[in-house]
Symmetry: C2
Subunit: 151 residues, 2 copies
Amino acid sequence: MPRAKPPPISTLALASAGEVEEQFYAALRRADLEALMTLWADDDDIVCVHPGGLRVIGPSAIRASFEAVFSNGPIDIHPEKVRRLEAPAFAVHSLLERVRVRGATGAETGWVVATNAYVETPVGWRIVAHHASPGARNEPQDGADPSAVLH
Amino acid sequence: MPRAKPPPISTLALASAGEVEEQFYAALRRADLEALMTLWADDDDIVCVHPGGLRVIGPSAIRASFEAVFSNGPIDIHPEKVRRLEAPAFAVHSLLERVRVRGATGAETGWVVATNAYVETPVGWRIVAHHASPGARNEPQDGADPSAVLH
């Protein structure tokens, strides 16, 4: 039996950066490439940095990178501690992604630090940048240990 | 003899995101905390993610983190391969930071991937977000190896 599909993104309002962000993480949890790509702005300079350090630029390359990611299945990922910097036509959100991964001793929780930038376009809010990088091993405490900083 | 100081930031136009970015990396190269902090927007939600994964939020915490960084002296850092996503009042730049560090076998070049977000304020363009994270060991090739991606 085919699973129930969520409504197509094009029928959603995406009336705020927050709505786009919610859909973004929901698409990662479903490994839904089409839904995920609809959330990005149609611009050659959109950018995605994956936790491994790989920088991917433009819609085609970003699609290919997430296709590779989803070949391993959905991602158990949840945004937490979101800080929002909002302006009339753009927003920058900083958050911690709580990710469940299979480790040597079973399921483990990992933390990823993400910066997400959004713009309001004629068809609603869209992602222009997603930068994700490894956080602390345990749940990061913001600003807790500046002495450990390279720059 | 006191070294020649650059002109104070407040007398600079900072008429574009690009100018702010140039001043930002120049301040890192001089370990000039005052100049560096003047480049940030005056907002409690400005955010800085350092390559070690530490997320720092707000002007006071960001200042403290860079004070710790500069206790080790200036940083030999140069932005390269800048991609610019520009709008009338904000901009997102993605770039690779080439950093010279002392390694086990002498000076080594490291690569850091950075996303810098800027807004135009009544007093000129300012930084609202700087997210830096370790890049590939060698000079990263954008989108070269999506199979190595976690997400």
